[in-house]
C-alpha cells in the first residue's frame, strides 16, 4: 500500500473537514485528495523520475508528496537554504525531475537540463484542474521519499524511505481519525526535513488540522498560534529557545492557552531550556521525540507524564530524565553496542542500533542495514536502569587520541560550566604525535576572556590530561544549520 492511502482514508471518512490551513486558505481533505490526484496525472505525463520541491512550506508540499506517491515517483524536497553550488549538485543528481518552486533558481543552476519546472501557483492550479478523484493508490512497492541528509560531517547522502517504512511508522504511532475537530497542529519545520514529512502524514491520518507556517519566525509563530488557536506544535530546540526569548520581551502576551501539546526533537535540548519551558507552559504536555531521517522519524519518546515527573522529582536519576529522549516505541527494538557490535550493559555508552518496519537504513548508493535488519545509527548513547535512552553525540564525532576514545560532549560540558563561556565545541584535529588531538572552539559571554592556561587547567582538573585541548580558538558564534545542528565539519575548518 502506498502513503496516498492515508490521505484517501481521511477524504473518504470526512471529505468536507478542513485538513490544512495555509496563507489564509482552508483545504478540506477532499480538496487535498483531488489536487493530489491531479498532481499525479501531471507528474506521470511529464516522464520525470523524481518530484522535487524547492520552496518554503505550503499546500504544494502535501499535494506534491501524495501526488508523487500516486504517480509512483519518489518525492524529493530540497533545502532551499543551500548555497548555489551545493544545490546545483543535488539538482543534477535527480534529473529528470518535476520541480515545484523557485523556477528562476532552477533555470540558473541547471540550464538546459531535462527538468519540468513550475512555480508553486502554477503547480497547484494545474493539479486542481487535472483532478482524477477515482484514481487508485498503487501497490506501494517503491520509494516514497528521498531526502538528502544535512551532511553535518560529510557530503549529503540520498536517504530513501519506502512506502512500507512510512506506512508502518504511521500505523504504529497514530490512531486513525483520533483528533478532536477543534485540534490544530502548528507545523513550522521546513518541508525538506523528515520532521516536516512526518508532521504532514501524522496529522492527516489523525485528522488533526495542519496550520502551516511557511518559514519559522518566533513572532509569526506566536501570532499564528493564538489567532488559529493551535492545540499542538512541533519545534526544534532552537525554535523553542527563540519562542521563549520572544515571550519574555513581548509586552502584550498573545493568548496561546489552547496550546496543550508541544513536541520537540531534531537536536540536543539543553536541560535549562526545557526546564524554563515547563515553567512557562505549566499546563502543556511536552513530548521529546528522537529519530533520524533513516528511521522515518521518531523511534523513542519521552512523554508528558515523564517530563512532569522528572521536573517534580528530588531523585537525581529521575530528574536526569529531562535530558533523556525517553523509551523506544513499542514497535522498535533498540540496543547499545560497542565497536565490535557486542551488546553493552545498562549505563555503558556505545552506538545506538535500531530495528523495525519503519527503519529504512537505505541510501541510493547502498543500504546501511545489517543482514539481520539492525541499523547502526552512528548516534552514541546509553540506557539507564529503567530503559531511558540518553544521547551522547554522533559516533563519528568521537575524538580518537592515541587510541583513546574521547566524546566531545564531556569536554564541552566542562567548558560550559565556566561563566565566561557561552558555547563550546570540541573536535579532533590532526596530530603527528597522537593521530588526533583535541581542538576546542569557544564563543564568549561578555568581555572577560579566560586564558588558554585557565581553560586547560579546568579540563585537566575535572577530566584528565588526555582531554586537555591542544588548541583553543575563539569565535563570535559557533556554526549551526537552520535546524540547530552544530556543523562540526565547519568547526574543524577553524583548525586548518
Amino acid at each position: 500500500m502506498d502513503i496516498s492511502l492515508l490521505l484517501k482514508m481521511a477524504a473518504d471518512a470526512e471529505p468536507d473537514r478542513v485538513g490544512l490551513t495555509c496563507d489564509g486558505r482552508d483545504w478540506t481533505y477532499a480538496q487535498l485528495w483531488n489536487a493530489a490526484t491531479g498532481a499525479a496525472v501531471q507528474i506521470a505525463k511529464s516522464g520525470a523520475e523524481h518530484v522535487a520541491l524547492l520552496d518554503t512550506g505550503s499546500e504544494a508540499a502535501p499535494i506534491a508528496l501524495f501526488g508523487a506517491a500516486l504517480a509512483g515517483v519518489p518525492y524529493c524536497p530540497l533545502n532551499y537554504r543551500l548555497a548555489d553550488a551545493d544545490l546545483a549538485a543535488l539538482i543534477a543528481r535527480i534529473e529528470p525531475a518535476y520541480i515545484v518552486g523557485d523556477v528562476g533558481r532552477v533555470e540558473r543552476l541547471a540550464p538546459g537540463a531535462k527538468h519540468v519546472v513550475l512555480s508553486r501557483a502554477d503547480f497547484v492550479a494545474a493539479a486542481e484542474a487535472a483532478a482524477d478523484p477515482e484514481r487508485e493508490a498503487g501497490e506501494g512497492e517503491g520509494i516514497a521519499v528521498q531526502l538528502f541528509t544535512s551532511g553535518t560531517t560529510a557530503a549529503p547522502k540520498a536517504a530513501i524511505l519506502r512506502h512500507s517504512n512510512l506506512v508502518s511508522y504511521i500505523l504504529g504511532t497514530v490512531e486513525f481519525g483520533a483528533a478532536d475537530p477543534a485540534e490544530a497542529a502548528l507545523v513550522s519545520v521546513p518541508p525538506y526535513h523528515i520532521a516536516g514529512i512526518a508532521a504532514l502524514l501524522s496529522s492527516i491520518y489523525a485528522m488533526r488540522r495542519i496550520l502551516l507556517l511557511p518559514a519559522f519566525d518566533p513572532k509569526d509563530w506566536l501570532t499564528l498560534c493564538s489567532t488559529q488557536r493551535a492545540t499542538n506544535a512541533f519545534v526544534v530546540p532552537t525554535m523553542l529557545s527563540r519562542i521563549v526569548e520572544t515571550l519574555a520581551v513581548t509586552e502584550s502576551k498573545p493568548d496561546i492557552s489552547p496550546l496543550r501539546a508541544i513536541a520537540y526533537g531534531g537536536g540536543r535540548m539543553p536541560v535549562e531550556l526545557i526546564t524554563m519551558a515547563l515553567d512557562l507552559f505549566p499546563v502543556a504536555n511536552f513530548t521529546n521525540a528522537y529519530g533520524l531521517t533513516e528511521t522515518s522519524s521518531t523511534v523513542a519518546l519521552l512523554g508528558p507524564e515523564e517530563h512532569r515527573a522528572a521536573q517534580a522529582s528530588d531523585d537525581p536519576a529521575v530528574r536526569a530524565r529531562l535530558g533523556s529522549v525517553g523509551k523506544p516505541l513499542p514497535t522498535i527494538e533498540l540496543e547499545i553496542r560497542d565497536e565490535e557490535g557486542r551488546v553493552l550493559p545498562t549505563g555503558e555508552a556505545g552506538e545506538i542500533y535500531v530495528r523495525g518496519d519503519q527503519v529504512s537504513g537505505e541510501y541510493r548508493e547502498r543500504s546501511a542495514l545489517l543482514a539481520d535488519g539492525w541499523f547502526p545509527t552512528r548516534d552514541a548513547g546509553y540506557l539507564d536502569a529503567e530503559g531511558y535512552l540518553f544521547l551522547s553525540g554522533r559516533a563519528d564525532d568521537v575524538i580518537v587520541r592515541g587510541g583513546e576514545n574521547i566524546s566531545p560532549g564531556e569536554i564541552e560540558d566542562v567548558l560550559l560550566t565556566h561563566p565566561s563561556i557561552a558555547d563550546a565545541a570540541a573536535v579532533g584535529i590532526p596530530s603527528v604525535e597522537w593521530g588526533e588531538a583535541v581542538g576546542v572552539a569557544i564563543a564568549l559571554r561578555g568581555d572577560v576572556a579566560p586564558s588558554d592556561d585557565e581553560l586547560r587547567a579546568l579540563v585537566r582538573d575535572r577530566l584528565r590530561s588526555s582531554r586537555v585541548p591542544e588548541r583553543i580558538e575563539r569565535v563570535e558564534a559557533l556554526p549551526y544549520n537552520e535546524m540547530g545542528k552544530l556543523l562540526r565539519r565547519e568547526v574543524k575548518k577553524l583548525f586548518q
Partner: protein, 95 residues
C-alpha cells in the same frame, strides 16, 4: 496474495488492507473477501457486527492484521473464526 493487498467484501462495502498475512481464508460477512467484487451476496447474520473505518483487526493468534479502509455491515473472520479489534495503545503525538 501478500501484505499490502487490498481486499473487498463480497457481501458489503467493507474494504481492508492486509498488513500482516498468516495462512487461512480472510472473510467478511461470512464470505471470502475478493480483490475484484462481482455481484454482492448477502451478509451472514452471524458475521454482521460491521467494520469501523481506520480500525485494525487481528485473529486470535495474531498472525493476521487487517486495516479497515472502508467500513461496511459485515464483520471480519479468518476461516470462520471472528477477528477482534486490535487495542490501540495511544502514544503522545511526536510530530
Amino acid at each position: 496474495m501478500k501484505a499490502g493487498t487490498k481486499l473487498k467484501s463480497a457481501v458489503c462495502d467493507t474494504e481492508v488492507m492486509v498488513i500482516k498475512l498468516g495462512s487461512g481464508a480472510i472473510e467478511c460477512g461470512g464470505a471470502p473477501m475478493v480483490e475484484e467484487r462481482g455481484e454482492k451476496g448477502a451478509v451472514n447474520p452471524a458475521f454482521s457486527e460491521g467494520t469501523k473505518m481506520g480500525k485494525r483487526y487481528t485473529d486470535a493468534a495474531g498472525t493476521f492484521e487487517l486495516l479497515c479502509v472502508k467500513p461496511g455491515a459485515g464483520s471480519l473472520s479468518i476461516d470462520g473464526a471472528a477477528c477482534q479489534l486490535k487495542d490501540a495503545k495511544p502514544l503522545p503525538s511526536s510530530d
